[in-house]
């Protein structure tokens, strides 16, 4: 009994009621903002004005979602705090960033769905209150018309009172269910990125295909049902064509988007840009939709040419942007590849010369000593002893040179243990006080490790050679899929970024599509900062 009555006396019920009342108001405002905002934005989509409009819309949606988040926190006890991404750099990029921001879309979805749920949840209350009020006013309006009958006597009006009360009680019991739904909705649509579920690519692709299949099946079912209804209701004008057209958009646009995302080879025809492929396909679908409307309506003047013209203009603009970016990237890659080849070439030349002048020459000398010892074996045992000792020394020196050479290519401890132990060993050998902090999410690719190691080693050697520094701070950390290596000393500054050492480091970084920055004002301090992408 207590369990049954709980919704009637629970404080949560009345807080949920307050939440829905507030949400109806807020949602109506949101609806007005979204309709007005998107209409203006779409009308001005081909002008540069679209960017500030999108940003404005983003802020509006963000503020409204923030208010809904506050309501949900205060009245539904869900811990959500809607967030906004920091805008990207560059004028157009900022506009695209808004469109690409998933939280933007999720917040809009919450504004609309939240509003709908609130209306449905409050419907029994508004109907119930109306029923309760009928005895008070039925007379003054000369009866209330319910369509199938009219309430115009006191008895009939009073009979509605228990109906009203029942509606309100049903509404209260239903509130618990609505509350649960709203909490889940707020959690999945308003929570920040922390609530985002990370899925494997296979799972994402399976989910996409499943969603598309379900959408297509439901749409087909609706169309079939409508056609059946049309056939049963005397046929005549084939009105189901309209919902059919609408649903073709509903299936066609996501279908094309999923196709492009799943089949990477499609974007080969659009300069490698999936976004451009999606835009062209969606434009084509919209154009087809408009042509279909033209075909089944007036058929006179071919007005779809104008939206087609606009869509084509947008696509051409987008293609130009993609092309420009691609050229820029190709140029940069060519430059850095040339640099990488140079670095490799000069490294190989150095290794070859070291081998030739060092270990190889020593092995030749060693062979000569052994040959002479063999000759002297019978005649002069004392000389043999001296020659063998010489041979052993030569072998030792050859080994030492080979070891130094190997260390210069890639230090063994870097291979064995990774970056942090290798840098710890390196800095332990430094005569200057060095602080080292390494904060890496995971082990970077070998090429990145090597580049980071030599950036630190070379910078540290530079500092020791002429920095007049008393301390060095080294920081290695992961940041947005890159490894950032920063070496700061308190020396006199004035380092030459064009010097051979730093130039070599820059080429090493650029070969990995990374960057190297050197700031070294006179008087110091000097900062060397390498940013190396870790994605393959």
């Amino acid at each position: 009994m207590g369990r049954l009555l709980r919704p009637l006396v629970s404080w949560d019920t009345y807080r949920a009621f307050a939440y829905y009342v507030a949400t109806v108001v807020l949602g109506s405002v949101a609806l007005a903002v979204l309709i007005a905002g998107w209409t203006i934005t779409l009308v001005l989509a081909i002008t540069p004005l679209v960017v500030p409009l999108l940003i404005g819309l983003r802020f509006g949606v963000g503020a409204l979602a923030g208010a809904e988040g506050g309501l949900a926190r205060g009245l539904l006890d869900v811990n959500v705090s809607p967030q906004m991404e920091s805008p990207a750099a560059g004028f157009w990029a900022r506009g695209f960033a808004v469109l690409k921001d998933p939280t933007f879309w999720r917040q809009q979805a919450h504004l609309l769905l939240g509003w709908l749920i609130a209306i449905v949840a409050l419907a029994p209350f508004s109907l119930g209150i109306q029923a309760l009020a009928i005895p008070l006013y039925y007379d003054s309006v000369g009866g209330v018309d319910f369509g199938w009958r009219t309430v115009d006597t006191r008895g009939e009006a009073l009979a509605l009172v228990p109906v009203g009360l029942a509606l309100i009680v049903v509404g209260i019991y239903l509130l618990a269910a609505w509350r649960k739904l709203s909490r889940g909705l707020a959690r999945s649509l308003l929570a920040g990125d922390g609530g985002r579920i990370v899925r494997s690519p296979e799972e994402t692709s399976a989910r996409r295909l499943r969603a598309l299949t379900i959408t297509s099946l439901i749409s087909t079912a609706i169309v079939v049902a409508l056609v059946v209804i049309w056939a049963l209701t005397g046929q005549g004008y084939f009105w189901p064509i309209w919902p059919l057209l609408g649903l073709s958009l509903v299936v066609g646009i996501p279908g094309w988007v999923i196709l492009v995302l799943e089949r990477r080879e499609i974007s080969r025809f659009t300069l490698g840009s999936q976004a451009l492929a999606i835009q062209i396909g969606v434009s084509a679908v919209i154009f087809g939709f408009l042509v279909a409307i033209w075909a089944i309506t007036t058929r006179g003047y071919f007005w779809p040419i104008w939206p087609a013209f606009g869509l084509a203009l947008l696509a051409v603009g987008h293609a130009a942007v993609v092309y420009g970016r691609r050229q820029h990237r190709i140029e940069r890659l060519e430059r850095s590849r040339a640099g990488a080849v140079d670095v490799q070439e000069s490294e190989l030349r150095r290794i070859e010369r070291d081998l030739h002048d060092g270990a190889q020459a020593r092995l030749v000398a060693l062979g000569m000593s052994l040959g002479m010892a063999e000759q002297a074996l019978d005649s002069d045992p004392e000389a043999v002893r001296a020659l063998l000792a010489e041979a052993r020394r030569g072998a030792g020196e050859a080994l030492e040179e080979l070891r130094d050479l190997a260390r210069g290519i890639r230090p063994p401890i870097l291979t064995d243990r990774g970056l942090e132990p290798a840098l710890t060993a390196l800095t332990a050998r430094s005569p200057l006080p060095v602080t080292l902090s390494v904060d890496l999410a995971e082990r970077p690719p070998a090429a990145v490790e090597t580049a980071a190691y030599f950036t630190v080693a070379e910078s540290l050697a530079n500092v020791i050679k002429h920095g007049r520094a008393t301390r060095v701070d080294i920081g290695i950390r992961s940041q947005n899929g890159t490894l950032v290596a920063e070496i700061v000393d308190d020396g006199a500054g004035g380092a030459d970024p064009q010097g051979p050492g730093l130039m070599g480091l820059r080429q090493r970084a650029e070969a990995l599509e990374g960057t190297l920055q050197v700031t070294s004002p006179d008087g110091g301090p000097t900062t060397v900062r390498a940013v190396l992408p870790c994605r393959s």
Partner: protein, 217 residues
Amino acid sequence: MQVVIAEDLALLRDGLTRLLRDNGFDVVAAVSDGDALIHAVSTEQPDIAIVDIRLPPSFRDEGVRAALELRRRSPNTAILVVSQYVELTYATELLSDGQGGVGYLLKDRIMDVADFIDAVRRVAGGGTALDPEVVAQLFSGQKEGPLEELTPRELEVLGLMAEGRSNAAIAEQLVLTVGAVEKHIANILMKLRLPPSDTDHRRVLAVLAYLQGREDD
């Protein structure tokens, strides 16, 4: 004296086996990876295991890991790690349990056969053999401090102490009398404020702790 060898290159494995047999050691097993080493040591219970650092399957620091594992499982077997390169980090790890019977040498040192055999015997007998290269890495990491007060001769003696050599061996190497070496050592311990140690191994640990303690400043 029974020896187990772990070295993946057949050329070096066979050479080392021959060299040790010629010098009167009993090589009871010569294996080529870490798992086989651990198995051989647990069945043969040798006096010493000579282990290469780079072993299959990963060719990274397998030998160091296997050596640390052996220290736990078979504390009665001494371990001499040999490698083409030396890292202070590995030396520190190998010495970290504070027990004697540990060595870490460059493979180059094998060429000086008499010295190498001496190191094997020393380690098998519970002593220490640290490569001069490791000691050099320790010294190169020194910032200013009491080390500057040492004379060049005392620095030489300190280096040999850190390698794990006995007073007699230090005297022979530097062409001094044992008495002179003892005097130098007393001076060094006083200047660095280190306590006198009863065994050569304790002495190594004290010197290493001192040198490494300085690094963290």
